[in-house]
Amino acid sequence: MTAPLLSIQNLHLKMSSFDGRAHVLNGINLTVNRGEIWGLVGESGCGKSLTGLSISRLQPTPPAHYVAGEILLEGQDLLKLSQAQMQRLRGKRIGMIFQDPTTNLNPAFRIGEQLVDVALAAAEHDAGVLDCPPNAGRRARRIAARKLAGDMLARVGIPNAQARLDSYPHQFSGGMRQRVLIAMALIGRPDLLIADEPTTALDVSVQAQILELIKNSVNDFDMGVVLITHNLGVVAQTCSHVAVMYAGNIVESGPVAAVIGSPVHPYTRALMSAIPTRETKRGMLRGLAGSVPNLIVPPPGCRFAPRCQFALPACTAAMPAAVPVGNDHAVACIRVAEMEALVHG
C-alpha cells in the first residue's frame, strides 16, 4: 500500500511567549487520504489553526518550536525540509485558503496578475501545470498562465471569468473573493488543500455555496482536504471525517456519521449538547462549564479532566491514548468502554 497523502504522527509543538513556553500541540495524530475532507474542530486556541499552519510550515520558528513528531506528505517528512524546499511544495502540492477573503487578496494588483504569478510559481516546479511545452519562453508561459487563470475562475463559478481577470479585489463581493482565493489555491493543482475557517467571514447563504465548491473540487482535483472550523454544522454538511481537538490534543476522530451521530468522548458529547435544538427554550443556551486550560502549565494527564463530568482520579495520571471504538473511529479517553455503553445503552 502506498503512503497516505498526509500523515501527522505524534506532533508536539511548543510556543514561546512572554509568560513561558506553552505546549500547544500535544501529540497530534492525523491521517488524510485523497478524496477525504477532514474537519478539524475545536474551540479557539485549541491548536487547530496551528496544525494547519504547521503542515505548510508557515508558523515562524521561533516563537514556535517543534519538539517531536513527523508531518509526512506521501512519506516525505515536511519538518525536515528547508524553507526553500517548502516554498516549492506550497501552492504546488499544498494549497491554502484562509478565513477573511477581504484581506487575503492584495488590494493593489489585478486578480489576474495574482493568479498568474501563483500559476507561474507552481509551473517552476511542475511544468504540467501550464498547458504549454516545458521549454516555452516567458511570454508563452505568461499567456498560458493567463488562460489557465481564466479557466480556473470560470471553474469556481465566477461569471464572465476571462474579463474579470482585469478586476481589482475590491470590485468583488466577499463570497466572490473567496472563490477567487479558492481558484488561486487550486491553480497549481495541489494534492492537499488546507482551508482555515474559509466560511467564517461569509453570509450563511454564501457559506453553503463555498462549502459546496470545496466539496466538488475534491473530486475534480483528486485531493485531500483539511477543513479547519469551529462550526459543527459546517463539518456535518461538508466533511467525510472529523477530528475534534481540545487544548492541543485530538480527543476523538473518525467518519462524520460516527463521530457526530454517536459521539463518545465527554468533550465531543458536551459540544454536541451545546448546539441549540428546536426544543431549546429562549435564554436556555447550554455551555460547557470551566474554561480552556493554561497551556504553559497544562493540567496533568487528560487536559479535559478539570472540566469533565466523568473524570476519575486516574484521569490525571497520563494523557490517554486514542482507542479504536469502531470503523476508523477513535477516542482518547480512559473511560471509553463506559462512555460507549452510555452512548449505546
Binding site: L58, Q87, L89, G91, N104, L105, A108, A121, Y168
Partner: protein, 335 residues
C-alpha cells in the same frame, strides 16, 4: 480623474491670493526704504521720488496690490528694483537651475531611500538595519549647509574628485538652452563634455540636499513595509508558493510605496523652499541665491515672485503625487 485634476487646479487661486496678500503685508511691515536703497547712496530726494513713481511705489498699498494682481493675470510679476529687469525674466533664468538641483536630489532620495527602506524592513533588527537607522538619524539631524561644507571639504578639497561649486566651469561653453537643465540640454546637443561636467557639478549639492529626504523616505518605507509584511495577503502569497524575493519586490513594495508617496510630495516643496543655504554654499545660480540677494536689498517684487512660484510648484508636485497615488492604489482611482 480629469475632474479631480481640474478641481485641484482651481485650488491654486486661493493659494495665489493668500500668498500675495501675506507677502505684500510683510513687505509693508519691514522697516527701511527699498526705493532709497535701490537709488543709491548719492541719490537726491527728487531722484528717489521719481524712482518711486516709476515703480508705482508712491501709490497706496492696496492700489499697488491691485496693480500687481492684474499684472499677474498677464504673467507680469513686476520689476526688480535691484536688477531692473522684469521679475518673470529673472525667475525664468534662475528657476531651471534650482529645479534641476531639486529634481536631482529627489531622484537620489527616492532611488536610494525606497530600496533601502525595503531592505532594512526585511532585515529588521539585524546589523544592516541598525547601521541604516544610525545613518538616517545622522542625515536628518545634520544641517544641510554644514553637510554641504563637509562634502566640499572631503570630495572637492581633499580627494579633488568633484568641483567645489557652480554649474559649469567658465571654459566649457554651455549648450543651447532648451529645458534650462544643463544636464538634459547638453545631452540634447550631444555635448558629452558639457554633460559630464554639469553632472559633476550637480553631484555634491544634490547629495547634500538629498540626504535628509532620503533618510525620511527610507524610514517611512521601512515602517510601512513592516506593516504590509504582516498583512494577510502576504501570508497567502507565501502559502501559495510565491518566491520571497518576488513577494517583497513586487507585492509588498507597491503597497508600501503608496504610504511613502505623501512624504515624497511634501519633501519636494520643502526642498524648493530650502535651497537657499545649499545654493549659497555651492554658489549655485538658482532661485535661492536670487531671493537671498533680493531680501537683503529689500527688493520685494522678486521675493513675492519667488514665493509665488515655489508655492505653485508645491501645489503641482502634490497634485502629481495624488495622481500617482491613484495609479498605485486602485481603490482611490475608482472611487
Amino acid at each position: 480623474m480629469l475632474r479631480f485634476i481640474l478641481r485641484r487646479l482651481l485650488l491654486l487661486i486661493p493659494v495665489i491670493i493668500g500668498l500675495t496678500i501675506i507677502m505684500f503685508a510683510i513687505a509693508r511691515l519691514l522697516p527701511g526704504d527699498p526705493v532709497a536703497l535701490a537709488a543709491g547712496p548719492n541719490a537726491t530726494q527728487a531722484e528717489i521720488a521719481a524712482l518711486a513713481v516709476e515703480y508705482g511705489l508712491d501709490k497706496p498699498v492696496w492700489t499697488q496690490y491691485a496693480n500687481y494682481v492684474s499684472g499677474l493675470a498677464h504673467g507680469d510679476f513686476g520689476t526688480s528694483l535691484l536688477t531692473r529687469r522684469p521679475v518673470a525674466t529673472d525667475i525664468a533664468a534662475y528657476l531651471p537651475a534650482t529645479l534641476e538641483l531639486v529634481f536631482a536630489a529627489m531622484i537620489i532620495a527616492v532611488a536610494v531611500g525606497i530600496p533601502l527602506g525595503l531592505v532594512t524592513a526585511v532585515w529588521r533588527n539585524r546589523w544592516p538595519d541598525y547601521l541604516a537607522q544610525v545613518g538616517a538619524i545622522g542625515a536628518i539631524s545634520m544641517p544641510r549647509f554644514f553637510l554641504g561644507l563637509l562634502l566640499q571639504l572631503c570630495f572637492a578639497m581633499w580627494l579633488m574628485w568633484l568641483p567645489l561649486g557652480g554649474r559649469l566651469p567658465i571654459v566649457v561653453i554651455p549648450p543651447p538652452s532648451v529645458t534650462g537643465f544643463l544636464t538634459i540640454d547638453s545631452l540634447i546637443a550631444g555635448n558629452w563634455t558639457a554633460f559630464t561636467m554639469s553632472l559633476r557639478h550637480l553631484a555634491l549639492p544634490a547629495i547634500a540636499m538629498s540626504l535628509s529626504p532620503l533618510a525620511t523616505i527610507m524610514r517611512m518605507m521601512r515602517s510601512s513595509t513592516i506593516e504590509v509584511m504582516q498583512q494577510d495577503y502576504v501570508m497567502t502569497a507565501r502559502a501559495l508558493g510565491l518566491p520571497s524575493r518576488k513577494i517583497i519586490t513586487k507585492y509588498v513594495a507597491r503597497n508600501a510605496v503608496s504610504a511613502t508617496l505623501t512624504v515624497i510630495g511634501l519633501y519636494f516643496g520643502w526642498l524648493l523652499g530650502g535651497t537657499v543655504l545649499v545654493e549659497t554654499v555651492f554658489d549655485w545660480p538658482g532661485l535661492g541665491l536670487y531671493a537671498t540677494k533680493a531680501i537683503v536689498s529689500q527688493d520685494m517684487m522678486p521675493v513675492i515672485g519667488v514665493a509665488l512660484v515655489i508655492g505653485l510648484l508645491f501645489v503641482f508636485a502634490n497634485l502629481i503625487i495624488d495622481v500617482l497615488y491613484g495609479v498605485i492604489n486602485p481603490k482611490v482611482r475608482y472611487s
